[in-house]
């Protein structure tokens, strides 16, 4: 119990909650908090160049460290600029506490300078938000914000603090144990349902694990338990974009990512399975394809901490509300104690079937000696960095999907990408946050030349804090995913998707004080990547790639998993060579 100003309470609460870094941008309505930050050195402020960057940086920080990301922005434009980042964090379930300044309480509603209805605007893009109207409420609300952000399904929380409350004096109290008076998310899964799930799994003839970001969010322990359960059962496993790294890509039971640009084997296994075990994923439309044809023959088990995710898009047979780590632990224990005997013969033929799908080599592409194929660039980037435990962020588009397909992840919290909202401009500020949380680590933003320009200004932040992030741009001069859809769905009419008048990325890097590298020759790519890795400064790598390469495999419009299309190089025995063709060969 200590007397202090509201601004001092904010800084004290950050310290008491274990926050070491806060990403922000000052302005009139938060000056008292900036003054309080000035008087201490426990919480380090990271000055970004745009408030959207602050939120994405905090997301990268949170996702790579498992901690709550903290943001501090001013009223009005500070808050509205943060909205995209907050929505991104809500869609991807990232724990954030965002403190916004507000005009003094007596001016709220008067259209004062830099006033906006922050709690109104952010109500739909936060897990919860607060407008603090009395200094007595401030300590409780600050601690509650951290509790709400990180418990249950994580998400962003906004605390809007008017300037007079920041100046007001009051009594500070330390975090209490009860977190929130009523909000108590269910962590343990229902024992009966878990037992029914394990019994169903034991009887499966064609099982598949379908895992997602919930496993990452449940902490590294959940990833360990997932590996244990998969190894105990010996069943195949696939993952959403958000869940990559929870299960090691080097394991033979790994089928690769599923969904719209997932592998042939992963999507076919989902379609043909008889028991689907969904852990911490939410049957998103990029995963399911056509809903009425989604995995028609399977019984479905769904583990999710958010009850509203269960039966939202897809009807499931066993819905278990609980934290992935808790439920996985129970499943592992139950499987060990009951040691069921799955149908070995059925499983062997299921793996044979998976083998024939794998043999289609759905990620094969036509190599080139003249131009760098984007897939090749990611493959080389992976090969040359895999021993350095790299952290990868991405922007949004083709490069993001290629990164997910060709860069392989073996540990959780190494892969930071905007999944739900699909925010171009996410990768660079996220990389800044990742590097801040993991000094000394190799952090690479795999980018496109269009996306990177959306938050290019954060290069300046990277330089200021000596964060040696690497920006690896797959430069095809197009908004590649837009161009691909225009080619496939809109008669190749490339309306406004060509990136005319691009900056010289090498000079741009130098202008910021970083290092620029350009490569357009496949033969020199390895050397150039090595040069990037060995440069102890921020680097922009302009990797000039094949302009018209498409991202395959792909589930086309309104189609099901078993109707996916493959690239030219994939072995398509069924449809490329018909019966007549086979007779000729």
């Amino acid at each position: 119990m200590k007397e202090m100003t509201g601004a001092e309470m904010v800084v004290q609460a950050l310290q008491d909650q274990g926050a070491e870094h806060i990403f922000g941008y000052p302005g009139g309505a938060v000056l008292p908090i900036y003054d309080a930050l000035f008087h201490q050195d426990k919480v380090k402020h990271v000055l970004v160049r745009h408030e959207q960057g602050a939120v994405h940086a905090a997301e990268g920080y949170a996702r790579s460290s498992g901690k709550v990301g903290c943001v501090l922005v001013t009223s009005g434009p500070g808050a509205t600029n943060a909205v995209t980042g907050l929505t991104d964090a809500l869609m991807d379930s990232i724990p954030l506490v965002c403190i916004t300044g507000q005009v003094p309480t007596h001016l709220i509603g008067s259209d004062a300078f830099q006033e906006c209805d922050t709690v109104g605007i952010t109500r739909h893009c936060t897990k919860h938000n607060y407008l603090v109207k009395r200094i007595e409420d401030l300590p409780r609300i600050l601690h509650e914000a951290f509790y709400v952000a990180s418990n249950g399904r994580p998400g962003p929380v906004v605390v809007d603090i008017p300037k007079d409350i920041q100046f007001a004096k009051g009594t500070y109290s330390r975090p209490a144990n009860n977190g929130h008076k009523t909000y108590r998310p269910q962590l343990k899964g229902d024992a009966g349902k878990i037992q029914a799930a394990v019994e169903l799994m034991a009887k499966a003839k064609r099982p598949v694990f379908y895992t997602g970001g919930g496993v990452i969010n449940a902490g590294p322990q959940a990833s360990m338990l997932l590996r244990e359960l998969v190894n105990l059962t010996g069943y195949p496993v696939t993952s959403t974009l958000m869940g990559l790294g929870a299960f090691p890509a080097s394991d033979p039971k790994w089928l690769g990512m599923l969904g719209m640009h997932g592998t042939y084997e992963a999507n076919w296994a989902m379609h043909d399975c008889d028991v689907m075990i969904c852990i911490g994923a939410r049957f998103d439309d990029r995963i399911t394809g056509r809903l009425d044809a989604f995995s028609p023959k399977s019984k479905k088990i769904h583990v999710d901490i958010d009850p509203s995710s269960i039966n939202k898009n897809v009807h499931v047979d066993i819905g278990i509300v609980g934290d992935c780590a808790h439920v996985l632990e129970d499943m592992v224990r139950l499987w060990r104690t009951t040691s069921p005997q799955p149908d070995k013969k059925a499983l062997a033929s299921w793996w044979d079937q998976i083998g024939t799908w794998r043999a289609r080599k759905s990620l094969a592409y036509l190599p080139s000696a003249e131009t760098i194929k984007p897939q090749y660039a990611i493959e080389r980037l992976y090969e040359l960095t895999k021993d350095r435990d790299p952290y990868i962020t991405t922007e949004v588009g083709q490069h993001q999907m290629w990164a997910a397909q060709y860069f392989h992840f073996h540990e959780p919290n190494r892969w930071m990408t905007s999944g739900g909202l699909g925010t171009m401009g996410y990768g660079l500020p996220a990389a800044v946050g990742v590097q801040m949380a993991n000094p000394g680590a190799l952090v690479i933003d795999i980018a496109g030349e269009a996306s990177i320009l959306m938050n290019m200004q954060e290069m300046s932040t990277a330089l200021q804090y000596r964060l040696p992030v690497k920006i690896f741009i797959l430069n095809n001069s197009y908004m590649g995913m837009v161009r691909q859809w225009q080619q496939l769905l809109h008669g190749s009419r490339y309306s406004e998707s060509y990136s005319e008048s691009l900056p010289d990325f090498v000079k741009l890097a130098e202008a910021y004080g970083g290092v620029g590298i350009r490569c357009s020759d496949p033969a020199q790519l390895d050397a150039a990547i090595m040069e990037m890795i060995d440069t102890p400064k921020p680097v922009i790598f302009d990797c000039v790639v094949d302009k018209l390469e498409n991202c395959f495999p792909m589930i086309p419009s309104g189609k099901a998993h078993n109707e996916m299309i493959l690239g030219d190089a994939a072995v398509d025995i069924g449809s490329v060579i018909d019966a007549k063709g086979r007779a000729l060969v």
């Binding site: 056509r290 958010d306 809109h490 309104g558």
Partner: protein
């Protein structure tokens, strides 16, 4: 279809449900709930709010909504996900709940029409809460159907204004929420 989004679902039968929601009576809680309904495209037929436990600052919100079984399930889960929401009870699932609303009805007229209005009001057990030489205000409490029937009759005898509270509801039997 030139889009990756799936087609809209086929028409399914809609059901009408009455939900009772206990919430912390804090600023913005009603906006959160009404915003949830508008943001996710759910229907609100009636919504009634009032603080019911003053010491604990707990309010009870009664919502009447329509949707498919799946949508109703989602509405309940989405409501429950809001931080200030304590409990969501689906009174329609729990059985035949008591549902009442109150209406204030202003009728203007002279002579025989005025006498007829008063006679009908008495037949419906409506109370006369205001009277002038040319007008009445009647207060009627009942089910929504009762209120509708009363209003239809009043339309013929000088109805000029109606104010309705929306539905307050409670499950039958000894159990409490």
């Amino acid at each position: 279809m030139k889009s990756h989004y799936s087609d809209p679902p086929k028409r399914q039968t809609l059901a009408r449900h009455t939900l009772s929601v206990l919430v912390d009576n804090e600023p913005g809680v009603l906006a959160r709930i009404s915003g949830l309904f508008s943001g996710r495209g759910y229907n609100i037929e009636s919504l009634t709010v009032s603080e019911t436990e003053h010491e604990r600052h707990v309010s009870r919100i009664t919502i009447v909504t329509t949707g498919t079984a799946q949508v109703i399930e989602q509405i309940k889960h989405q409501l429950d996900r809001l931080i200030p929401v304590h409990r969501v009870n689906d009174l329609t699932v729990l059985g035949d709940a008591v549902e009442r609303e109150l209406a204030l009805v202003k009728v203007v007229g002279k002579g025989e029409q005025r006498v007829e209005a008063l006679r009908l009001a008495q037949a419906f057990n409506a109370r006369t809460v205001d009277a002038t030489l040319t007008s009445f205000i009647f207060e009627l409490t009942g089910t929504s159907e009762d209120v509708e029937r009363f209003l239809r009759l009043m339309a013929g005898v000088g109805l000029v204004e109606v104010s309705r509270t929306g539905i307050a509801a409670m499950g039958r039997g000894p159990e409490s929420m």
